[in-house]
């Protein structure tokens, strides 16, 4: 079994990318994913991951000429793709791993438990995800396929995969940022059920365009734990929601509960930091930008490998340009949605 060290890391990455390129014709499935400013040709095998890719990605409906990217979801059962190597005996330091690759124009990620590697050549816009089998990826990948590749490609263009939910009315929207359990997902689902728009929950694409802060959709997935699922009455739309995901949550898609689907984009006018208050009614009050940054940046930076400093700068700039508010969540979803709609309607800020 090959062992990879920091010194051999870039060569290993380049070797894998070359092997995938040489075996392109052997991949059973070729899918096209159209995202904002990005057309991705995904070479894969059949399986759950290919299904997630076909149904879990947002589709850019605005006519735009995007950059072309090729991603290979590879495993040793395809052509002459090699078995994944293992990390060597040295300590694995994620920061040094990222730095070493960046010095060679590469980005990467390694998940030891599954012998799972991801590499991306920024200049060639070529990526590989090497697994032991067709669906041999970490369980969270099924909810947000290609997440790391999107992070690296968009970061190279000054945009950012952002760990936040969104809600909006009439093209104007709010970003909902906070750690897991803060109430982001329940708020987004409540808003969708009440007729508000969204460009996504969990991960959205943020672009700073002049004075505007634009959010656009990447994934169509929504998640709710069983308690939230019951509280929001989602069985009405999903009588047979299927098995719980790796987090013990129901996973479904926006169109399962909202026929109009995701909005094309939202002009983000405020950053809200939700928290479960226990009070009957919701309340929106100003919060210090420092607190808002701490709600927005850490999870987004921790969950996406590499580009940490550029991420901190981006989220700093985003926080600086948006008015920031604490959102004390009431107990009823429809009331929360009304509060956010009224907030946007009043023209605040």
């Amino acid at each position: 079994m090959r062992r990879v060290t920091l010194d051999g890391l870039a060569d290993y990455a380049r070797g894998l990318l070359a092997a995938c390129d040489a075996n392109a014709a052997a991949f059973p499935v070729l899918s096209r994913v159209d995202l904002p400013g990005l057309g991705i040709d995904v070479f894969s095998d059949h399986g759950e991951l290919a299904t997630a890719l076909a149904h879990g990605m947002a589709t850019a409906s605005l006519a735009e000429q995007g950059q072309r990217v090729r991603i290979f979801l590879a495993h040793p059962g395809i052509g002459s793709i090699p078995r994944p190597a293992l990390w060597g005996e040295a300590l694995f330091n994620p920061h040094m791993f990222a730095e070493r690759l960046e010095a060679h124009g590469l980005r990467g990620n390694y998940f030891h438990d599954l012998h799972y590697w991801q590499f991306y050549d920024v200049e060639r816009r070529l990526g590989v995800q090497l697994m032991l089998s067709a669906d041999g990826c970490p369980p969270w990948e099924f909810g947000a396929p290609l997440r790391c590749f999107l992070h690296w490609e968009y970061a190279a263009r000054g945009m950012r995969l952002t760990h936040a939910g969104t809600l909006g009315v009439g093209g104007r929207g709010v970003l909902l940022a906070g750690a897991g359990g803060a109430g982001k997902s329940g708020t987004v689902v409540s808003g969708l059920l009440a007729g508000l728009d969204s460009v996504g929950d969990d991960y959205v694409l943020m672009k700073l365009d002049g004075d505007r802060s634009m959010a656009r959709p990447l994934f169509t997935t929504l998640k709710q734990d069983p308690a939230g699922f019951d509280r929001l009455g989602l069985a009405r739309w999903l009588p047979d929601p299927g098995p719980l995901n790796w987090q013990g949550k129901h996973q479904f898609r926006v169109r399962d509960v909202c026929s109009r689907g995701l909005a094309d984009e939202l002009d983000i006018v405020a950053l809200l930091v939700p928290r479960i208050s226990g009070a009957e009614r919701s309340a929106i009050t100003p919060v210090a930008r420092k607190e808002a940054l701490m709600a927005l940046a850490p999870s987004g930076i921790a969950q996406t490998p590499g580009e940490r400093e550029s991420g901190f700068r981006f989220f700093g700039e985003l926080t600086r340009r948006l008015p920031c508010y604490d959102l004390a969540l009431g107990t009823r979803g429809d009331e929360i949605a009304e509060t956010i709609a009224a907030f946007l309607d009043r023209g605040i800020p």
Binding site: K290, M294, I301, G316
Partner: protein, 141 residues
């Protein structure tokens, strides 16, 4: 600690942003975030602008004065966290009028808060530090 010495940000892994006078620092190498009280933000900004701590002693701060002991303890915390280190070659700067004014109107004592809740996700060695049966991201205790 060289109390009358000059300090600088200890490495390029230390990045920071300031919002309305509140500084937030991220250590890219450790994944730890740091926040400050209002007076702490002022002193942090002064120190990274190469103002010697000694020149801050006795400065007006929140209706009182900065004491040598408080500054000494604060600088020790910053160096202990790896945010600042001695910069023997650096030339001393004077405290800007803006920072002096903000310091005088600060309302909180010198304080730095560390947030390392997500540091494990950023920095733990996911091969050698992970609980064996549970796997990543459960950290070996």
């Amino acid at each position: 600690m060289g109390f009358s010495a000059i300090y600088a940000v200890s490495s390029t892994d230390i990045v920071y942003e300031t919002f309305d006078g509140d500084a937030v620092v991220l250590d890219l190498a450790s994944g730890r975030y740091f926040g400050f009280s209002d007076s702490g933000s002022c002193v942090w900004e002064a120190l990274i602008a190469q103002v010697p701590p000694a020149s801050l002693v006795g400065r007006a701060c929140g209706g009182g004065e900065l004491s040598a002991d408080d500054l000494d303890a604060f600088v020790a915390r910053l160096t202990e966290f790896g945010l600042l280190s001695l910069a023997p070659e650096a030339a001393a700067s004077a405290l800007s009028p803006d920072l002096a004014g903000r310091l005088a109107t600060a309302r909180e004592a010198l304080r730095i808060d560390m947030h390392d809740e997500l540091a494990d996700l950023v920095m733990v060695d996911p091969i050698h530090d992970v609980d064996e049966p549970a796997g990543w991201p459960v950290v070996k205790q």
